[in-house]
């Protein structure tokens, strides 16, 4: 059964991209050319990752400061605030930052700045988690002994170095394959590897070159991906909140990116609301775009839950888990484009979009939210198998109850990302059947203010869908307790 599911996932993840090789007319880009072409994307990804890690580390200090002064509930709320820029649609972040700064730099510098703004909150929470798992226990002792935070961190740095390095490579891969920000802010410079592929497919219509770039990108990213599978490198579970240190100044960094975005959008809200409520087109299309967005979100979330459950089942056996690391999509544009050639239309294309998006999000979500739980459950699983338990029984009675809550939450997150996607859906849907596609068309038609209000509406829809999955997560926890 496990092999069957593994084979199914491999077919879904790899075969579509491979089908595009029929457009390949042989290698046409030399290594020298690739080195020249990849110089800026690699530089961009390296600087973005380094700066994100740097600022993330200091924002994590801000969290350490706050956790000693506010309740756990409030701290969780602040964590969500820090994550807001990472989970908002990129277009939304770009619009608001550009609204605030009239001379925002374009090209490489602009891309790096926006990357850092969007991912610092996420990185800070990952670093905080590393600090807790690696140093929390030692921190408590050091505090008792009266060690200064600077001395403690300096001495303990080798313990967290490997985790930080892995996180750096995760960020590097993310920035290298980033698409929305390089497309809008990067100008004509090819500031990410993904943009090179996007450009060949959408603008040059040279699919053979796109295959070339896909191969090179895969060759670059697969080793990084395999290497970063070990993140976090610590398998031990002794997590204790680190309380040593903390900085009041750096706690500002938690709110700064989200605050910037909020301010940028608020300024244009009145004009946008007026434009939206006087728009006949919106009233005419509202039913389609709202039902389309919700449907896409729910199906995307539902399918993600299915893939995550399958991945959890497969990964319980170490041999299969090793195979699971190859379920990696090195280029979202290329992957989505392979489904474009299926030529589906109507409602089927909406379902196809949901399928593609869920496949794109699942590996990341599995790494972020499930992998560690699976590693933790490994010993229980193996022990029960030794005692003669049946795999199916074990999985449904022991494993699922412990991960169902996380899977449902991640399904909700995938649903929100699905609703806010416009790049992949644009390719597969061809018509403006979701709010994000409608929003992108508004931007193309100068209707900037209306597009901003639609962004708010998009967030409301995202919240509705997320709350549903959140509730499912809650119910599953109660049912299995």
């Amino acid at each position: 059964m496990r092999r069957f599911f593994l084979a199914l996932l491999f077919i879904l993840f790899w075969v579509p991209s491979l089908t595009l090789f029929r457009f390949w007319q042989g290698p046409s880009i030399s290594i020298e050319q690739i080195l020249i072409l990849y110089k800026i994307p690699i530089l961009q990804a390296l600087i973005s990752a380094a700066l994100t890690l740097f600022f993330g580390f200091y924002v994590a200090q801000g969290f350490i400061f706050l956790r000693q002064r506010v309740s756990t509930r409030r701290l969780a709320f602040f964590e969500y605030i820090a994550m807001v820029p990472s989970f908002l649609p990129s277009l939304f972040v770009i619009i608001s930052v550009l609204s605030l700064f009239s001379q925002f730099p374009f090209g490489l510098i602009g891309v790096v700045i926006l990357h850092v703004i969007t991912m610092t909150g996420f990185a800070s929470l990952m670093i905080l988690r590393t600090l807790d798992t690696r140093l929390g226990f030692h921190g408590a002792i050091a505090q008792q002994l009266g060690a200064t935070p600077a001395f403690f961190l300096k001495k303990m740095f080798p313990l967290i170095f490997r985790d930080l390095l892995l996180l750096f490579f995760i960020l590097f891969a993310y920035f290298f394959t980033s698409i929305s920000i390089p497309v809008i802010i990067g100008g004509s410079a090819m500031t990410s590897g993904e943009k090179l592929i996007y450009d060949q497919i959408f603008h040059q219509q040279n699919w053979s070159h796109a295959v070339d770039y896909f191969v090179w990108q895969t060759l670059l990213l697969v080793p990084i991906f395999i290497f970063t599978q070990k993140y976090p490198s610590s398998d031990f579970t002794q997590e204790e909140p680190l309380r040593l240190g903390g900085s009041r100044i750096f706690s500002v960094g938690i709110f700064l990116p989200a605050g910037l975005i909020f301010l940028g959008l608020l300024g244009r809200l009145p004009q946008g609301l007026h434009a939206l409520f006087s728009s006949q087109e919106f009233l005419a299309d509202a039913r389609t775009i709202i039902s389309g967005s919700l449907l896409l979100g729910f199906i995307c979330g539902g399918l993600t839950i299915l893939w995550l459950t399958l991945m959890t089942f497969i990964s319980l056996q170490p041999t299969s888990r090793r195979w699971l690391r190859y379920l990696y999509i090195s280029s979202a544009t290329f992957f989505a484009f392979s489904f474009y050639t299926w030529k589906l239309s109507g409602v089927n294309s909406l379902l196809l979009s949901a399928l593609v998006l869920s496949l794109l999000f699942s590996p990341v979500l599995f790494r972020l939210g499930i992998y560690q739980s699976v590693v933790r459950l490994q010993s229980q699983w193996e022990m029960a198998l030794c005692l003669g338990s049946h795999q199916g029984f074990l999985f449904s009675r022991v494993i699922v109850p412990q991960v169902a809550h996380h899977i449902a939450i991640l399904g909700g997150l995938s649903a929100v990302w699905g609703i806010s996607d416009f790049a992949i859906a644009r390719l597969l849907l061809r018509q403006d059947w979701t709010l994000s596609l409608w929003m992108e068309t508004l931007v193309q038609q100068y209707r900037w203010d209306m597009a901003l209000v639609c962004s708010w509406l998009l967030i409301v829809l995202g919240c509705v869908v997320f709350l549903f999955f959140w509730r499912v997560a809650d119910v599953s926890r109660q049912k299995f307790m």
Binding site: I95, L98, S99, S102, Q103, F104, F106, G107, V183, I184, G186, G187, S188, D199, F202, H203, Q204, Q205, Q280, E281, A284, D285, R287, T288, S291, G292, L294, L295, F298, I299, G302, T341, K343, S345, G346, V347, L350, S396, R397, V400, A404, R426, R430, Q431, D432, W433, T441, V443, Q444, Q445, Y446, W448, F468, R471, V472, V475, S476, K479, F480
Partner: protein, 343 residues
């Protein structure tokens, strides 16, 4: 099964939500046109087919007169339209709307088209007629600015002056047709070698080169840049829809480049006669007016724009399209030279 039994209620609610949303969504996208016997498949770009574009109104009028319904198929730009045709999509379009002067050579060479005869059409001057391609709208191109900013230039040469440093938003000709129009404009007005020299000198004046027109126009709207290369008709949107009269086109004394959009009928059309009717229908004055008002482009036949905002007070000098038709024959080389400038 144990898991399913415990979670039956959430599963049921999820299923019910998806079912209800599917029904609502299906009902909202299924227009009554699907029940009619004769349907014309028209491949075009989203701005034309959307509710606020001219497409739906034209489809309604066409049905009322000919009893033929229109089914829109969308592709993001002229390049993707041709790519879709190349892919032999199972829904072969009867009409393609949205080819432009730049994509015409590719369309002529790479595809077969159904002939169409257009007689007694009172075309406006300067529009290149290239049967079987039927022009349906056009617009000169220029820089757009906001009135309060500064005195606009009169010659392209002036753009390299110090007062225009960091002032221009252009589009990349590799990825944007407006970017290609700009390149054609410079090279047509100044000549190929001198044009590239001028572009090299223009570097300090360029603030951003966006991959798409929408990106650069958005930056201009957000006051990130004072001048953007766009359509002469772009300010009219702000005048008519937003009552904002600050947006103005720059009238150059150099002749302007211009964009023309064409429709055509693929050779393997299914409803060829209805497709011909539709293209001729687009050229009627009342329909040209709809295209003008909703697509913010100029009509291709005379006497439609008279007395409207689209009738510009000043005469716009236009370049001879033959000059850049010659340039387009070695488009690849031009793009390589553009890239070599590293703007």
């Amino acid at each position: 099964m144990w898991y399913v039994r415990r979670m039956i209620l959430p599963f049921l609610i999820f299923g019910l939500i998806v079912f209800v949303l599917s029904v609502i969504f299906r009902q909202s996208i299924e227009t009554p046109t699907r029940t009619y016997t004769k349907t014309l498949q028209v491949l075009s770009y989203p701005n034309f087919t959307n509710t606020w574009g001219p497409g739906p109104e034209l489809a309604k009028r066409f049905f009322e007169e000919y009893g033929v319904s229109i089914k829109w198929v969308e592709a993001s730009n002229a390049g993707m339209i041709l790519q879709l045709l190349r892919q032999e999509h199972k829904e072969i379009p009867d009409v393609v709307l949205g080819l432009d002067i730049l994509s015409l050579p590719i369309a002529e060479q790479g595809f077969k088209w159904h002939p169409i005869s257009l007689k007694k059409v009172d075309w406006v001057q300067d529009i290149p007629i290239d049967e079987p391609f039927v022009p349906f709208d056009w617009a000169p191109m220029t820089f757009i600015y906001k009135r309060q900013n500064m005195l606009p230039p009169k010659h392209l040469e002036e753009l390299k002056q110090e007062k225009y440093i960091n002032s221009l938003a252009l589009q990349d000709p590799n990825s944007s047709s407006t970017g290609m129009y700009f390149l054609m404009w410079v090279l047509s007005v100044m000549g190929e070698d001198e044009g590239f020299q001028f572009l090299q000198q223009l570097k300090p004046s360029i603030r951003v080169i966006s991959p798409s027109w929408s990106a650069s126009y958005s930056l201009f709207k957000n006051d990130q840049v004072p001048y953007v290369f766009s359509y002469f008709t772009s300010p009219l949107y702000h005048h008519l829809e937003e009552q904002d009269f600050t947006y103005q086109p720059v009238y150059f004394e150099d002749p302007h480049v211009y964009a023309v959009e064409y429709g055509a009928i693929p050779e393997n059309c299914k409803q060829c006669s209805a497709a011909e009717d539709f293209l001729k229908f687009l050229l009627r004055p009342e329909n040209q007016k709809i295209i003008m008002q909703k697509n913010f482009m100029l009509p291709v036949i005379k006497n439609v724009k008279k007395g409207t905002e689209f009738d510009f007070p000043q005469k716009i000098q236009l370049i001879d399209p033959k000059t850049y038709k010659g340039l387009l024959e070695h488009r690849e080389d031009l793009l390589k030279r553009w890239q070599a400038l590293q703007l």
